[in-house]
């Protein structure tokens, strides 16, 4: 079992963000979270890497309960989970290779990361270059991130996630700011890479067509509850976005 949500409830003050969630995600599975704004998708992802603690219930990763894990054990657990937030979380005034190097910040520690940022060794450059080749921007390795287009920046964020060599990738609406064609190619890239590497991918999306086209499993959320959980061709997917 990879990720196991056991009766998870999350409240922000009096507001219930997620309610009585019971679900499991297996190693290597490609899961897409869909649902309207405020459905609880970002909170769900926050629980997956322990950024947010459940109010009730347990979130278990590799037999470890996030709520009970502290210190180095938590660091070790987190270093297996890559995260691509909506705004990508890139250091825009640094070069692409330096941003990718930050993917291993948890494993490297302060001094090794400092060395990578100041003077990246030839070996590390090669590894980063191969990753960038894979995401299609090898020639941008030494470009400043703020000199890249939105789509290229998303590819840098994917390369950073892959450099971490994670067992899970969490992506929170990573294609919300690009045109439909770019969005399609980026989702395809992420799902392909994750499938090849047997990485568990949990991605939240607004576009149900992308979810239906690229994922094996779709979880529909609405008002903090799982409305459906199953194959992408489920008819209920279409109903999820209907206006009340």
């Amino acid at each position: 079992m990879m990720l196991d949500f056991q009766s998870v409830t999350l409240r922000y003050g009096g507001i219930v963000a997620l309610s009585e969630l019971d679900l499991k995600i297996e190693q290597g599975e490609q899961v897409c979270l869909i649902g309207p704004s405020g459905a609880g998708k970002s909170s769900f992802l926050g629980l997956c890497n322990g950024r947010i603690q459940a109010t009730n219930g347990k979130v278990i990763l590799h037999d470890r309960d996030f709520g009970q894990t502290r210190g180095k054990e938590l660091t070790r657990l987190r270093s297996q989970i890559a995260w691509i937030p909506q705004d990508l979380g890139l250091i825009t005034n640094l070069r692409v290779n330096q941003n990718v190097a930050c993917g291993r910040a948890g494993q490297k520690g302060f001094w090794k990361l400092l060395m990578s940022l100041l003077w990246m060794g030839r070996g590390e450059q090669q590894v980063v270059s191969q990753l960038l080749e894979r995401v299609g921007i090898a020639e941008k390795i030494f470009a400043r991130v703020d000199h890249l287009s939105g789509g290229q920046q998303q590819r840098v964020a994917i390369a950073r996630a892959l450099y971490q060599e994670p067992r899970v990738i969490l992506a929170d609406e990573p294609v919300s700011a690009v045109d439909p064609e770019r969005a399609r190619s980026l989702v395809e890239l992420l799902t392909t890479v994750a499938r090849e590497e047997a990485i568990t991918l949990v991605m939240s999306l607004h576009d149900r067509h992308l979810a239906q086209r690229f994922f094996d499993r779709v979880i529909g959320l609405r008002d903090g509850k799982v409305v459906f959980d199953g194959a992408p061709n489920d008819e209920r997917v279409q109903e999820l976005y209907r206006l009340d």
């Binding site: 890497n49 989970i81 937030p85 979380g89 640094l94 930050c102 450059q125 020639e139």
Partner: protein, 573 residues
């Protein structure tokens, strides 16, 4: 409506201040004897000296040119050394004074943060010239002591600004690093510090420019920088030499402003790599062809080397005074810091309150009041004048096609725009203290001299900041006005000013705080205010009184600082 009330309030405060300061316009006309001296002084500005005015010194061992260069290097050297220390203080204080490096919120960390911020604010509340006076009185004359004084004040300022920059930096990269297993320290370093680096460098470079001005002013308390040469040239009646030093100082400060702005631009925009568009390049070729700026690298290396050179090329950091003598000085200073009435009463500290009360009711309260109004009236005057100058100097208005709307001929507008921008640059390049010193030679000892000095320097800064705001403000209303045949002035007053009003007021409050700080020392030139009391107490070796006035000045600056922060915080929201 709100804007109208603000203008009315500002007008009221400005005139109230002038009334409190007894600033009578008649004082601006020197008496007959004064008129001749003033005319001589002003006319000598047209003929700066290229050799000693004293013929006995001409052709001597050290040429006038070497003397000017030596004073210039000493000024820059002390500024670089002070900044090297201030940067260390600023970085440590900036990190400890911010929340950005915390993994989680803890009470002990909050106490540490508030403590560090308070110390930083206290350090910057005392003007560097006052720190220098205190340190020189405590340890005896020495360049090192003056440099330490400067670094303390600047370190406090850097710590405050750096901690704000860290806290306000976009934390998304740091959040990703933390969420993927990075420690708080790693997340702070990689996600916050690297991201804030261009802003940190920008501010540090601006402070270096300020440090050169401050270093020059330290000459007025006996440190051999440009201020010292200006003061001695005045005492010898060599007016043309004064102007030579002033011009050289202006050139250097303007150069540093230009240099700093180029470095800032390169740091924030970066350099595009020509190879990054080409596919199938080898890693080595991509590395060789990466976007980089030789100018930026050379500049940073030069500043770093300059700081080291500053430390190692000074032979007289201690000014030859022995350590035992300094300890004796410190002991004596410590004894005399105890208020006179307490000393008289054999250490009875119950005498402290009556002593403070007597000092305050005598001249202290009035001096604080006058200092507050001096700073306030000056900045309001500067604000009023700069509003008009902004209209004439903003690049998007002072052109043939203001805001992109072609209006026909505009050569004169452009020429005036350049003239006003150049004048504003010179105005802000000149330290207030030296400006007041020069104006004093023209108008004599009147409060107007201090008001003008503060207003001119801060006006120069407000014009630059304000013109940038107006240039960057997007306002379709202004374009409509211009395209319908309206004048530049109509577009400015009715569209651009309302659109950029909040940011202009933000800058006004930012400079008000600096004006109050500067107002505490300008009185040392002999015009009644806190600085005047400090100067008198120093001359009479009344260190107890001196520290009381310095602390009062610090309290005033502290209040100004906090209220300016509050107002700016509200305006930002």
């Amino acid at each position: 409506m709100r804007r109208r009330w603000f203008f009315l309030g500002a007008l009221f405060f400005c005139f109230w201040g002038l009334w409190v300061l007894e600033a009578n316009p008649v004082e601006l006309i020197p008496n007959q004897g004064g008129q001749k001296a003033a005319a001589d002084f002003v006319l000598s500005a047209l003929h700066p000296a290229f050799d000693y005015e004293d013929s006995e010194l001409q052709g001597g061992e050290i040429s006038f040119f070497s003397k000017v260069l030596h004073a210039l290097w000493t000024t820059v050297k002390y500024a670089l050394v002070a900044m090297s220390l201030a940067l260390v203080i600023g970085l440590i204080g900036g990190v400890l004074g911010s929340r950005a490096w915390w993994s989680e919120s803890r009470f002990s960390l909050e106490v540490l943060r508030i403590g560090v911020r308070l110390i930083a604010t206290a350090a910057r509340s005392v003007h560097e010239l006052l720190w220098a006076i205190l340190f020189l009185a405590a340890f005896g004359t020495s360049p090192l002591v003056a440099v330490l004084a400067m670094s303390l004040s600047y370190g406090g300022t850097l710590a405050k600004v750096f901690s704000e920059l860290f806290d306000e930096a976009d934390g998304s990269a740091a959040e990703v690093i933390r969420a993927t297993g990075g420690s708080g320290l790693v997340a702070f370093f990689a996600g916050i510090m690297t991201r804030s680096l261009p802003d940190l460098a920008t501010y540090a470079l601006y402070r270096l420019e300020c440090a050169i001005r401050s270093s020059a002013v330290l000459g007025f308390v006996g440190i051999p920088t440009m201020g010292y040469e200006i003061k001695t040239a005045f005492e010898d009646g060599h007016y043309r030499e004064i102007w030579t030093y002033v011009y050289v100082l202006l050139i250097v400060v303007v150069f540093f402003e230009w240099w700093g702005s180029r470095i800032r631009s390169l740091l924030s925009k970066g350099v595009t790599s020509p190879l990054s568009e080409e596919k199938d390049q080898s890693l080595t070729d991509l590395w060789k062809g990466r976007g980089r700026s030789t100018f930026l690298r050379a500049s940073l290396v030069l500043i770093f080397l300059g700081m080291i050179a500053g430390w190692v090329t000074e032979d007289h950091w201690g000014a030859g005074v022995k350590w035992e003598q300094r300890v004796k000085n410190l002991e004596r200073f410590g004894e005399e810091l105890v208020p006179y009435s307490v000393r008289e009463a054999h250490g009875d500290w119950s005498q402290l309150t009556p002593w403070i009360e007597s000092k305050m009711s005598g001249e202290g309260a009035e001096a604080v009041w006058r200092t507050f109004h001096l700073g306030t009236s000056s900045i309001l005057l500067a604000g009023a004048v700069s509003l008009v100058v902004i209209l004439a100097s903003a690049r998007t208005l002072a052109s043939r096609a203001p805001r992109g709307i072609r209006l026909g001929r505009g050569f004169l507008r452009e020429a005036f725009g350049m003239f006003f921008r150049g004048s504003a640059m010179l105005a802000r390049a000149m330290p207030e203290y030296i400006l007041a010193f020069l104006l004093l030679q023209v108008f004599g000892p009147t409060i107007w001299v201090l008001i003008f000095a503060l207003a001119i320097h801060n006006g120069g800064i407000l014009v630059r900041l304000g013109a940038e705001v107006v240039d960057n403000t997007s306002s379709q209303a202004s374009e409509v006005i211009l395209s319908q045949g309206g004048s530049r002035a109509s577009a400015f007053w009715s569209a651009l000013l309302p659109a950029s009003f909040n940011r202009l007021i933000l800058f006004l409050f930012y400079r008000w705080e600096s004006c109050i700080r500067e107002a505490t020392v300008l009185g040392m030139l002999g015009v009644s205010s806190l600085g005047f009391l400090i100067s008198n107490a120093k001359t009479a070796f009344y260190y107890d009184e001196m520290i009381l006035w310095v602390l009062l000045g610090a309290a005033l600056v502290f209040v100004g600082d906090v209220s300016s922060d509050l107002v700016r915080g509200r305006l930002r929201r």
